[in-house]
């Protein structure tokens, strides 16, 4: 076959230079802080300098002290309380177990537990052991009630619907109190790692703005520092042995381009840490979190980062006890349950018959010829059936970008574990950003409390694979980082451990409880679960 070539050499270097020249400065804003301390300011990347600018503008709480007394569950920043090597915290299904494999953690002065910023918060504020190293809406409500909303948890910057609202009014914090949501503010248009402007493939219009923040003159899209506000649940800080490694050697299956690299070491990363994969490493995540959530100027120093990462990499978490069936991790209990199993097992692909995602539940199946069936046996059998539904029961998975459009076909007749395929955690090793439909219309649950955006894709851009070029969404997800139409509404799958401790579910908190999670999938994919199947699944999810 004849090759007709117009020889035009591509210079990647030239492209990079042009992009950099067109973009914004990489430099972070001046701290204005006269304290001399080692900083990471010069390592702020991509979206972080703009976030820093807004975070510094936002007011601090009227009372930024540590107002919430310890109740045996809540870790108050700076309290110095010890985090035991193993601890159980009660929840409605039993108790979640938190395991520190390095032994008890002395939190006094520990940067994860110390308010390092200007608003009284620490990492632990939103990553509480009792809540499976996330934080539940119920806990937020309890703290509001106990402190009159004065706890740093409710910091205006992102613990309220918008910093410009009256902060002493619980309505201004309704998304956190009712849905466990924090405000995430990102520059729009997006910024590349080098700070240059990414030209998005779509325009973004605010259709509904119930929090007022996207139209806010100081914090919104038309402010001096244009920011889009979306609202997300905090992810779990635990079990990173399973989250950090990358499964594919080189390529991201979803995008067909190489997996990103750690900007510091050059090593490839899983791209699975955050809902939108905007931070590639625990380190850059911690730096951004210190800027946005803690309103700290200048980032974190190396010693602080080392201590934070060391802590994060040794902590394991899973539901550890069932209120009716007792403790996990003992003889006769399925081997994948409990935090010790998380510490013991290895990272890998779990959508394989030889080693199911959450290992075998055979020990809880009814024994053949068993004389009597008691309530415990019935419950154990239900959980085992739930694990089967998760692992082997097929249904038509359809219209899901990041799955159906990567060569598997639309629809694909498979099971939950097709996407929830990572050993022990049930996230997606791929990495896992897909548009499940939780954010985009018409499949999202009714979410009148969240902003609604209309995104219109350019005619020459590849459209969203199943929604085309005009998309209404509550959160564009990964597309807010890449500007790609195809990725609108795509959110990374999260790990499934300790679910009982940290309702509500999905990144936008749109499922108030485990039953609503199951109901969403049932509707979304027209699965037709029976009532028994739904209950089995809920029972199964409750023990993870």
């Amino acid at each position: 076959m004849q090759i007709r070539t117009t020889a035009r050499r591509v210079s990647i270097v030239a492209i990079s230079i042009a992009l950099a020249a067109a973009g914004a400065s990489l430099a972070a804003t001046s701290s204005g802080n006269k304290e001399k301390r080692p900083t990471q300011t010069n390592k702020f990347q991509g979206h972080v300098p703009a976030q820093n600018e807004q975070a510094q503008k936002a007011p601090r709480a009227a009372s930024s002290g540590n107002d919430y007394a310890q109740n045996g569950r809540w870790f108050t920043p700076g309290s110095g309380a010890q985090l035991p090597a193993s601890a159980f915290y009660e929840n409605e299904w039993g108790a979640v177990q938190v395991l520190n494999t390095s032994g008890p953690v002395n939190t006094a002065g520990h940067p994860f537990f110390t308010p390092l910023g200007s608003n009284g918060r620490a990492c632990v504020t939103c990553h509480q052991p009792a809540d499976g190293m996330s934080i539940s809406a119920r806990t937020a409500k309890e703290i509001w009630d106990a402190t009159g909303g004065k706890d740093p948890l409710f910091a205006p910057v992102d613990g309220s619907n918008c910093p410009s609202l009256p902060q002493d009014d619980p309505k201004s914090h309704s998304l956190l109190l009712e849905h466990g949501l924090f405000r995430v503010f990102l520059p729009w248009p997006p910024k590349a790692a080098d700070g240059s402007r990414i030209e998005p493939e779509f325009t973004l219009e605010v259709v509904e703005d119930p929090t007022g923040c996207n139209r806010d003159p100081k914090y919104g899209l038309k402010s001096d520092n244009p920011m889009v506000s979306i609202y997300r649940r905090p992810k779990v800080v635990a079990n990173f042995k399973y989250i950090e490694p990358h499964y594919a050697q080189y390529f991201n299956l979803k995008t067909g381009v190489p997996l990103a690299k750690d900007p510091e070491t050059g090593a490839r990363v899983s791209m699975n840490l955050m809902a939108d994969a905007r931070n590639l490493t625990l380190k850059t995540q911690a730096v951004e979190a210190s800027v946005t959530h803690l309103q700290r100027e200048g980032g974190l120093n190396e010693a602080q980062l080392t201590q934070i990462l060391d802590f994060e990499r040794q902590i394991y978490m899973a539901q550890g006890r069932h209120k009716q069936l007792g403790e996990f991790g003992v003889e006769g209990v399925p081997p994948g349950l409990g935090a010790a199993a998380m510490a013991r097992e290895k990272y890998g692909l779990g959508n394989v018959m030889s080693k199911p995602v959450f290992l075998s539940f055979d020990s809880w199946r009814p024994k053949e010829g068993a004389a009597t069936k008691d309530a415990d046996a019935e419950l154990r059998a239900s959980i085992a059936r739930g694990s089967d539904i998760f692992f082997v029961r097929p249904f038509w998975i359809r219209d899901t970008t990041g799955l159906n459009n990567i060569g598997l076909g639309n629809p694909l007749k498979r099971q939950c574990a097709t996407c929830h395929n990572a050993q022990m955690t049930g996230h997606d090793v791929a990495p896992g950003w897909i548009d499940l439909g939780t954010q985009n219309l018409p499949t999202a649950n009714p979410l009148p409390h969240l902003p609604l955006f209309k995104l219109t894709c350019r005619a020459d851009a590849a459209p969203h694979a199943y929604l085309g070029r005009v998309i209404y969404t509550h959160d564009p997800g990964r597309a807010l980082i890449t500007g790609k139409c195809l990725e609108i509404g795509a959110i990374n799958l999260q790990q499934m451990r300790g679910l009982a401790a940290r309702a509500p579910y999905f990144s936008n908190g749109s499922a108030a409880n485990l039953r609503e999670v199951v109901d969403f999938y049932d509707r979304r994919f027209d699965i037709g679960y029976t009532e028994q199947e739904k209950q089995d699944l809920v029972n199964f999810l409750s023990v993870l």
Partner: protein, 274 residues
């Protein structure tokens, strides 16, 4: 048969052993294509809910054609997508019908990027079934994906003498997405180029076209070859091929289409010159 079709032949021989029941349900037109005849058409794909895995079909001029079965990304056949038209380029075989469809083998199927909500048909099994597929609708039975990953990591090392080699990456029509079968090729280019300490790695992208059986001609968007070339260029550099050795070019004009293996026009060639 072109090299690229070799994998499909293997699949075809496997499928030949599958049960084909209920031929009475076939769509009849009275004018059946002859074995060996090439059929190139754009139409809605159809999926049939067969046991043990679904099978994929397409209808053209009132006749139903079998394209392949759902497996996984290790399979040479990547199923098309409802809500999108499929570009089907295949050869009519003389094998027994599968899932009620005349078997196209070899066949190349590409999803077209624009939406077509009318493509939305899931047929019931109607007595058809697939047997002995490597994988059903559940978990991987033999840890195939994991095995492949391990093999990729333990891939055989190249050794001298190093000779010039050319690799080809095929794309779906009007698409710049590289699925796993394509990224495997790019990975192999990297492995050979770095082993051979290649002096040059030359990326050449083409703009494809397709001649359909009804005489209609499809031509890819003009921008695609450039996007494809840059994507592969950047991927190779990212994977560790010395950036100064990589050069790229792309064709502005469409490759001629003659209705025979036109999918080969939608390609990027990568020459590794030690």
């Amino acid at each position: 048969m072109s090299k690229a079709f070799a994998g499909f032949a293997l699949l075809g021989s496997l499928l030949a052993s599958f049960a084909a029941a209920g031929d009475s349900n076939d769509i009849k037109t009275g004018k059946l294509p002859k074995p060996g005849e090439r059929l190139n058409f754009v139409s809605c794909p159809i999926v049939r809910d067969t046991q043990m895995v679904p099978c994929w079909l397409a209808e053209y001029e009132g006749e139903l054609y079998f394209l392949g079965i759902q497996l996984d990304l290790q399979s040479p056949f990547f199923p098309p997508q409802l809500k999108h038209d499929a570009l089907v380029e295949g050869v009519v075989s003389d094998k027994p019908r599968i899932c009620g469809g005349i078997v196209l083998e070899p066949v190349k199927v590409a999803s077209l990027p624009e939406l077509n909500p009318a493509c939305n048909t899931i047929l019931p099994a109607e007595g058809y079934k697939i047997e002995n597929a490597r994988r059903g609708t559940g978990p991987d039975p033999i840890n195939l994906s994991a095995t492949n990953q391990r093999k990729a990591r333990e891939a055989e090392q190249y050794s001298p003498p190093y000779v010039p080699r050319t690799y080809t990456v095929y794309f779906d029509f009007d698409s710049d997405y590289m699925p796993s079968r394509s990224t495997r090729v790019v990975t192999e280019v990297m492995r050979y180029a770095t082993a051979a300490n290649a002096k040059k790695v030359v990326v050449t992208a083409h703009r494809g076209s397709a001649l359909l059986s009804n005489g209609r001609k499809l031509i890819e968007q003009a921008k695609l070859p450039e996007i494809r070339a840059k994507k592969i260029h950047e991927a190779l550099a990212d994977l560790g091929v010395a950036p100064q050795t990589i050069s790229s070019s792309w064709s502005g004009s469409a490759e001629p289409a003659d209705g025979v293996d036109d999918f080969e026009t939608r390609r990027v060639e990568i020459a590794v010159i030690p």
